[in-house]
């Protein structure tokens, strides 16, 4: 749950921030750069604590779930924005020029010509980030949310002698999820490239 919604948020933030950093308007670029630097410069755990434990002091109380989604989403969005930015920049200049020559509007150039090509480059790093994101959801344990790790800890308390097995199982489950995600990403990649290279 947390993983899914924070991944959606992270991807949305990645594109929003990644494209904003390429904006013609310096104010947009600066604001985004500040966001990216803040969320990349501090650890996810700190951000999580801040959202959940510090915000109530200024009158904003977030449910655990929302705090977790926001923290993880914004954190990975900041990293993801770099992926989006560099993938867009990696599309050859000739592609922009051809789309200008065909009189496309700026957003059409981006949406119809540049992003489809950039997405292909984004896919592998996004896949890695997604795996990282799923693993990082275990941090929400620290704000006492019931994620996989938390469940495992509960189990372990109840069955102390099985600790090793439970932790191995936990590891395995993260591994399986991560593998599934990587496989899905690779499949998608193959499908998108079909016939083009």
């Amino acid at each position: 749950m947390v993983a899914f919604f924070s991944a959606v948020l992270a991807i949305a933030m990645s594109f929003a921030a990644g494209l904003s950093r390429l904006s013609k308007l310096w104010i947009v670029r600066t604001v985004t750069a500040v966001y990216v630097e803040i969320f990349r410069g501090t650890s996810l755990l700190v951000q999580l604590f801040w959202l959940y434990f510090a915000l109530p002091f200024i009158g904003i109380e977030l449910p655990k779930m929302l705090a977790a989604i926001l923290a993880i989403g914004f954190n990975f969005g900041a990293y993801g924005s770099e992926i989006v930015r560099s993938a867009v920049l990696a599309v050859p200049k000739g592609q922009w020029e051809a789309s200008v020559a065909l009189n496309m509007k700026p957003w059409q150039r981006m949406w119809n010509v540049i992003l489809p090509q950039a997405s292909l480059r984004m896919l592998p790093p996004f896949g890695n980030q997604l795996v990282e994101l799923i693993k990082s959801t275990s941090l929400v344990y620290f704000i006492t949310m019931a994620d996989l790790t938390y469940q495992a800890m509960v189990l372990r308390n109840n069955y102390i002698s099985w600790t090793t097995e439970i932790l191995v199982l936990l590891l395995l489950m993260y591994f399986v999820i991560a593998t599934l995600v990587s496989m899905a990403v690779r499949l998608l990649e193959r499908k998108w490239t079909a016939g083009r290279l």
């Binding site: 050859p92 000739g94 051809a98 083009r196």
Partner: protein, 280 residues
């Protein structure tokens, strides 16, 4: 200042800026005192040039003389540092605002670009789209044609360049010559009034040059579109151009009919240039 140089060599059939506008055809393209600098480097030093509707103008000259830059300005890919360019009687890079000339905004450029098309040296096809999609994309998204209309237009245009059997292929699977022919169809399908061809054969293997030149020759014969052909193919320029422009060091050094330029070059620059070309 440089206009002097150019006027001295202006071909007889080139009308000078009209004293009596109603009396003659409006030029399709008009460069007036255009300069371009990249940082400290002045690449174009004052270009004055007119192209009549339907006129085929070949641009020749040594490497680095600013030919590409001149064409890219017409395609709005490069902004002039000084001077103005008019397309079909309207300023391309400037617009009137409260009686003053100001830099054109995107909306103005968008409107002006309807009249201009360009084919690039390196094709710049969209690699993520099929051949058909490459040619229908802009008619649908920019001209607002329906899918059927766009495809009909595209297929007939691809037929003209001899590629209507490759509709479903992706650019990566085409030869260089085929890619360039798709790029030509892609530009033509927008029905521009003037089109820039920037060394469209120089990235091709020698055996593929012919098929592309053949297509351009056919387009030229149809007549109504003005063409700026930046090229190193002298024989080709001689054959299809109405007028040839020789540029060097950012200036138009000499211009005239193909016969005047190739058989009777007046300036020493041009004589040397042609000589070097023939000996190669």
């Amino acid at each position: 200042m440089n206009a002097v140089v150019i006027d001295a060599f202006a071909g007889a059939e080139v009308p000078q800026p009209d004293p009596n506008p109603a009396a003659e055809v409006k030029p399709m393209v008009r460069y007036k005192g255009v300069t371009k600098s990249f940082g400290d480097l002045q690449v174009l030093k004052g270009i004055d040039l007119e192209m009549q509707p339907g006129e085929k103008v070949a641009v020749i000259g040594p490497s680095g003389s600013g030919k590409t830059t001149m064409g890219r300005m017409l395609m709005t890919l490069e902004e002039p540092t000084e001077g103005t360019i008019e397309v079909d009687g309207e300023l391309l890079w400037h617009m009137q605002e409260k009686g003053r000339l100001v830099r054109a905004n995107e909306k103005h450029l968008h409107r002006m670009r309807c009249s201009v098309g360009m084919v690039f040296q390196h094709f710049n096809l969209f690699p993520h789209m099929s051949v058909l999609r490459n040619v229908t994309e802009a008619p649908r998204k920019v001209l607002g044609l329906s899918k059927e209309e766009a495809e009909e237009r595209a297929v007939s245009m691809l037929g003209k360049v001899g590629l209507d059997d490759k509709l479903k292929m992706y650019p990566a699977n085409l030869s260089g010559g085929q890619k360039q022919r798709v790029a030509i169809a892609r530009a033509l399908v927008m029905r521009p009034k003037v089109m820039v061809f920037d060394e469209v054969t120089s990235a091709l293997d020698p055996e593929l040059v012919g098929e592309v030149l053949e297509v351009i020759r056919e387009i030229a014969e149809e007549g109504d579109m003005a063409m700026m052909l930046i090229t190193h193919e002298m024989d080709f320029a001689k054959e299809i151009a109405d007028r040839v422009i020789f540029g060097a060091d950012g200036l138009i050094v000499e211009q005239g009919t193909p016969e005047e330029i190739f058989d009777n070059p007046r300036s020493e620059r041009l004589q040397n240039f042609l000589q070097r070309f023939r000996s190669n």
